[in-house]
């Protein structure tokens, strides 16, 4: 059973999802070591699908590994590398191993990766993939062929509140929700005003009742990494003043953490936001620090009390 679904449907507890670091070798123990900290806080952990168009251990393999380790996985599926047949096969195949959460997205282009000469697929787009996954959950392939003993999937997606056209982003998110998405992991947004406007638009139209919004918080240690995201990660813009704030700080490490904490406090205070999606590039215990500073109880405490975080004002 999807714990993530229970939390979204219950509606009381703060939800944390996180990203499993990419895995390129080793065995199950390697996955366990890399995912340990985020898994101790996150209700479910994303097994990413060749993020930034770089090849890694596959989404399906890592999702199954997480399940075997007792960590609830979210199978991330992007439309870039596989056609509709392969995407469906991955979702159904992972479900055989108990992977019920699926996060469907279009995906960065191949040119964002280290093999830009690769063929891009995009046989489906993100919203179509959401609908196809929802169909699988309801017991049919896209062709209409029935799936016997289909597992009930918990389908979600992503949206980028900060990328142009800004006025259209909420509508695109709504399209994914209408297609079947029950949670949206929002792309990291360094423009609080844009996130706020996006969330308000969805909330005012009742869409936050239908899907849990989980804005992403990225934990980094330096202005250099922020600058890299600004210039090299598609769809991410870090304002000059935000960059300068970390760059000019006496302690960049601390300034970068403070920035993430502020983002998290702001995001979680918005109506309709149900929790956070955390990506940790620091690997220094910052996930635990962030959760404690936000007043979010540990996973076990939240499970015990279905507790809604009371944020320090």
């Amino acid at each position: 059973m999807s714990r993530l679904r229970d939390l979204v449907e219950d509606g009381r507890s703060t939800i944390l999802t996180g990203e499993a670091p990419t895995v390129d070798g080793g065995d199950l123990a390697a996955v366990e070591a890399r995912v340990a900290e985020i898994a101790s806080w996150a209700d479910a952990v994303n097994a990413t699908d060749n993020p930034a168009a770089h090849a890694h251990a596959s989404n399906v393999a890592v999702a199954i590994a997480l399940a075997r380790l007792g960590i609830e996985p979210v199978l991330q599926v992007v439309a870039r590398d596989k056609n509709r047949i392969a995407c469906q096969a991955d979702i159904v195949g992972a479900a055989l191993h108990g992977v019920e959460n699926v996060c469907c997205l279009t995906g960065d282009d191949v040119t964002a990766g280290d093999e830009p000469e690769a063929r891009r697929v995009f046989d489906l787009d993100g919203p179509q993939l959401v609908r196809v996954a929802t169909g699988l959950s309801e017991g049919r392939y896209l062709s209409g062929r029935p799936l016997e003993l289909a597992r009930p999937l918990f389908v979600g997606s992503v949206e980028n509140p900060a990328a142009p056209p800004l006025d259209h982003r909420a509508q695109r998110a709504a399209k994914k929700i209408a297609a079947g998405a029950r949670f949206l992991q929002l792309q990291i947004c360094y423009h609080p005003d844009r996130l706020e406007s996006f969330v308000h638009q969805l909330h005012d139209r009742g869409f936050t009742e239908r899907a849990a919004l989980l804005p992403t918080i990225v934990l980094v240690r330096s202005a250099r990494v922020l600058s890299y995201m600004d210039t090299s990660v598609p769809g991410i813009d870090v304002p000059t003043e935000t960059l300068a704030r970390v760059e000019q700080a006496a302690d960049q490490d601390e300034a970068a953490y403070e920035l993430a904490l502020e983002q998290a406090e702001h995001a979680i205070s918005l109506p309709g936001v149900r929790g956070l999606h955390i990506i940790d590039f620091r690997h220094d215990g910052a996930v635990s620090r962030l959760c404690r500073d936000l007043g979010i109880p540990t996973k076990e405490e939240r499970r015990a009390h279905a507790h809604r975080a009371q944020l320090p004002v």
């Binding site: 960065d108 169909g135 049919r140 062709s143 142009p164 056209p165 399209k175 598609p234 769809g235």
Partner: protein
Amino acid sequence: MGVVAFVEHAVKRPVFGCRMCGQCVLHDTGMTCPMTCPKALRNGPCGGVREDGHCEVKPEMRCVWLKAEQRSRTLPLLPPSWRAHFGQLRPPVDNRLQGTSSWVNLFTGRDRQRPDGWEERADAEGPT
């Protein structure tokens, strides 16, 4: 390529950059061809649009969907129903129709055939 397809391509290629997908949705997308998007997305802009509104894949090109979204609101003489269709969930492309005439496919209804598992839902439209 048949005669109709030849004529269609001759008309639509210079004006819209038509790729002859054979299942034209120009009327729903502000008369902007989504197949000119490097990812060939049918349902709106990806999350990679640059801060200046240009394409993630081709930095020199303005995002096709930025143009589509703007035109669907502002293009004069566009029937209101076409504007309203902008937010609809469009089905996956039928790759068998590549190179055929969308005019013929519209006339025969071939372009409205969907896979049996693609459920059209009443609530498919997002807010406008």
